[in-house]
Every structure is written in structure tokens, then in C-alpha cells.
Amino acid sequence: MSEQNTPDVEIEAGAVEPDGDIVLPDHHPRRTDFDPRAAKRAERQVSIMFTLSAVFTVAFVVAYVMIPTDATFPVPFFGTWSASNTALGVTFGLAAFFIGAGIMQWAKKLMNDKEVVAMRHSLASPEESREEAIAVFQEGVDDSGFATRRILRRSLLGAVALFPIPLIVILRDLGPLPGNKMFITSWVPGMRIVLDVTGAPIRPADIPVGGIVSAMPAVLPAIQKAEGNLNARAKDVVLLVRMNPDEIRSQQGGTDDEPWDYEGVLCFSKICTHVGCPIALYEQRTHHLLCPCHQSTFDLADSGNVVFGPAARELPQLPIKLDDEGYLVARDSFQQPVGPSFWERG
């Protein structure tokens, strides 16, 4: 092998004829090629398809005008469908399909089906063209002085390299800097824990053993109203669960005098520490809490530790106690940031 990438091909594909001529497979004439009646039939077929398409287009307009958007109709085994959506989709779809199918029949049956051969040419330019191009280019370079005037070239390149900086700097006001926002929530000592949807305060007796309650800080609706967005809700929501106190193996904090639970009622952040999905698939027998997004599983009876899945951190626990009126309140704020990990979290 003189050249490493030369194939040892002795028989070129296709060039099976000894004289090297290209011979295509025999052409088998179609019925429509020799039978004028078949051709006529094909013509009729195609024109019927085009006519059908026109009919469906008209049907679309009729369906659009006649069928109210709330009309429904039953489809056996497939439920009840919107009459308008189905009628519009089917008519419009078939109107398009029959144009396509008609054209295709036309092309397949009536247009010439003899294969033709075209030659390819090497994509590379001939050598002299390349040389000419280089010469022309060189002429341009010389003309400009780009190669010889070094200071011009360098200062231009420098200027152009710096030029995009404003385009990036101007993005600065896309948002505020994080500050300490990732580290805080609306939970402060004494904040009442209230039911998520209805906003009612909660007494421990309301939660039976094995029960779960989606809850939020009492102040959340007001914050949401003031800020006009859901930012606070995305961090503040918590879950209350209750288990027999002797089933609790460990907690993230608390002393005998100031326990983080209240008689078996535990409060955890509802935001998964993996990528932040709300997490609430609570299995009351195993005390496991499963995230429906990526199946991180936390054991709430054991400090909210991860027992399965991609989450790396325990679910933050909120210390709770009773207030003077006997409702559950936060004993303290969250002792660690809630939600997914981030660089500054540590």
C-alpha cells in the first residue's frame, strides 16, 4: 500500500459491465404506461381525491360555523370528545391528506418512472482554481496591509475582542443579586402554621397519627398579594405529619425541654432538596416521603434523611410548638436553607 487510505478495491460497485458502461436495471413498464384505460382510471382516481379534498375543506368551514365549542359526542371505548375539535381536525386533516395522496398517485402512476442518471463531479475545485483563489486572496491581504501593519492589526483585534462586553454587561439588570435570599424563608419564631388551601390554623388534635397536612405560614397570602408573585410560596410551604412519638428515631434538633416536634407532630419543608419539586407522596406506614419527579425518598421518622434516589440532603425540619391559643406555630425559623443545593450553600 503506497498510500494508507487507498482501498484495495478491484471491483467497483455497480460497474459490473466489462466495458464500464452504466447499465441500469431493466425498466418494467407500469400498467398505466401501456394501457390507456388504466391511465384513464388513474386519472379519475386522482381527480376524485382532489375533489374529496375540496369537499373536506368545505366541510371544515361548515363545521367551524355550525358546531359550538362546548358540544361533545361519545366515541365507543375512547371516551367523550369535543365535537368541534374532532370535526375540525378530521376535515382539515383529510383535506390536506387527499391533496397529498392525489399528487402522489399522479406522480407514481402517470409521471415518467424511467430512472435517469446524472454524473457527480468532484466537489473540490481544480488545482489551478485553488491557486488563483489564493493569489486573489493574497492580493487582497497585501492591499489591505493587514499582514504588514502589525499595530493596526493588533489594535483592531483588541478593539473587536472587547466590543461584545457591553452586550454582556447590559444583561446585568436581568435580575437582582441573590444576596441572602436563598438562605431565608418567611418562617420566624411564633409564625402560625395554617392549612394550605383554606388558611385555617391547626391544632395538634386535628392531625391523627398517620395523618398529613399541607401547610404554609399564616403570613404567606399577604406576602403573595404584596409581591404579586409565587416566590414566597415556592420556598415556604411545609408538611405536617404525625406519628407515634416512639416511632420517631431521630430529629434534626431539639432538646427534651424544647423539642422540635409536638407530641409526634413533625414539620418538614415541602420542597425537595434535589431540584425543588414539591414533595408529598407520604407513605404513613413506612414514614417515607417520595418525590414524584425523581423518586428521592426521605425517612421522616429519621430526621428526614435520604434513603433512596438522587437527593443528597435531608429534608429541612421546622421546629414547632404550641402558642397560647393551642395552635401550632414555628418554634424557630428553618435552621438550614430549603430547596436544592447551590454553590454558596456550603
Binding site: T72, G79, T80, W81, N85, T86, K108, L195, G210, G211
Partner: protein
Amino acid sequence: MRRRHRAAAPILVLLTLALIGVLYAAVGSAASAQASNEGATTNAELIKQGQQLFAEGCSSCHGLGAQGGPEAPTLVGVGSAAVDFQISTGRMPLAAPNAQAPQKKVIYTDEETAAIAAFVASLAPGPQIPTDEEINYEDADLVEGGELFRTNCSQCHNFTGAGGALSNGAYAPDLRDATPRQIYEAMLTGPENMPVFSNETLTPENKQAIIKYIQNMDEQASYGGWAIGSLGPVNEGAFIWIIGIGLLIGAAVWIGARVR
């Protein structure tokens, strides 16, 4: 409570018998069969019948006194709602121990179920089978039901109640074939791994609203056409690969095929 209950039973029997006698006379022979049937199932007899059924069908795992066994929990204090839920959905009696009791063909009649429920309820107070008024969701707030459903239920049971997976082979079942009574009982009693939603944190009105929302999801039209199981993007992806790409490749093959 329990003591008074027992003391009251004979009186209740007498009263019921008397009432039935009056009814019998009033309604006449046409209703006689039904009336005598009702007469036979007074509370005490119901409990007795239930005890017998329990001894035959349940006690091998749960124990004669429903005190529980190595493989089965105690039923003392679970209340009639839990029993009705487990039996009327076919979960009990269990065929074989599993990650979770599967739904099967219901083997007890409504009367037998009521009898076993009454027996278990007689052991200790617990959540009662909801009355017809309690599960009457006609006037419930559909919109609030939706919010409550999406906050408390959809995480396990999926956005249309089609069900979903839990850890280690457990699962949240499809809600669309459950009756309102069963849904109510499930929220009240927390069967298996399902947490309990007490009447304090989810009031009876809230529960009715949730039931109304589930019923509505089941009954409302699938506006866009076939719902493909209402399981979300996984099924949509399978649909577009099998049906969508399938049809397009079919068309491409037809276009490329030679005509004779």
C-alpha cells in the same frame, strides 16, 4: 359508650321489631319479604353475623378478637369505615401477603360487609361508615375540590386520579373506578400507606368537594380526543412514536414503492 351500647341493644331489638310490625301492617304483603329481611338484621344480630363471618374469613390472620397477628394489623379501633373500604373494594380478604393489597373481585355481599363492619366497629370506637348525607357531594364546591385535590391527592394519584407509583412496589390506585363512599372512607381511615386526612384538616365539605372533582374528572369529556390513559407525557411520547411516526413511515414506504 361501649357499655351503654351493649345495654341498649336488647331494647333496640324490641323497638325495631315493634317498628317493623307496624311497617308490616302498613305496607302489606308486597313488601313483606324485604321487611322481614330488614327485621332479621338488627344491630345485635348484625354484629353476631359479622362475628361469625369474621371468624370464618378474617380471623386466620387478624385473630378471633381482631387483635391482629404477625402478618396482619389489629382491627380494634379501626372503625367500620376501614372495614367497609377494604372489603367493598375487594382488597380484603387478602389472597397472599404483598407490597400492597391489590383490588380484586369483591367476595362478600353488601349485607355481609355491613355485618363484618358492624362487628369490628363494636370492638372499639373508630371512624364510622359515612352516611348518605356525608357523601352527598351534589352541592359541594367543584373549584375548591380541584385545589384541594391538586394540593393533597394528585401527588400520588395523578392529575386525573389515574394513580401512580410509590416506593418499593407500592402504588396509589386509580381513583376513577372508586365509589364516592370508598373515596371518603379512604381519606378518613388512611388505608395501608395512604395518610389519614382527618375531618379537622379536611372537613366533610372539603372531602365532598374532592369527591365531586374526582367524579367530574371522570365524567367530563376528553376534549382533545383520545386521552391515551391520562398518564401524561410518557404515553404521549409512546403515541407519537408508534402511531405518528408509524403512519408517516407507512406513507413514506408507499411513496417509495414501485407501481406495477
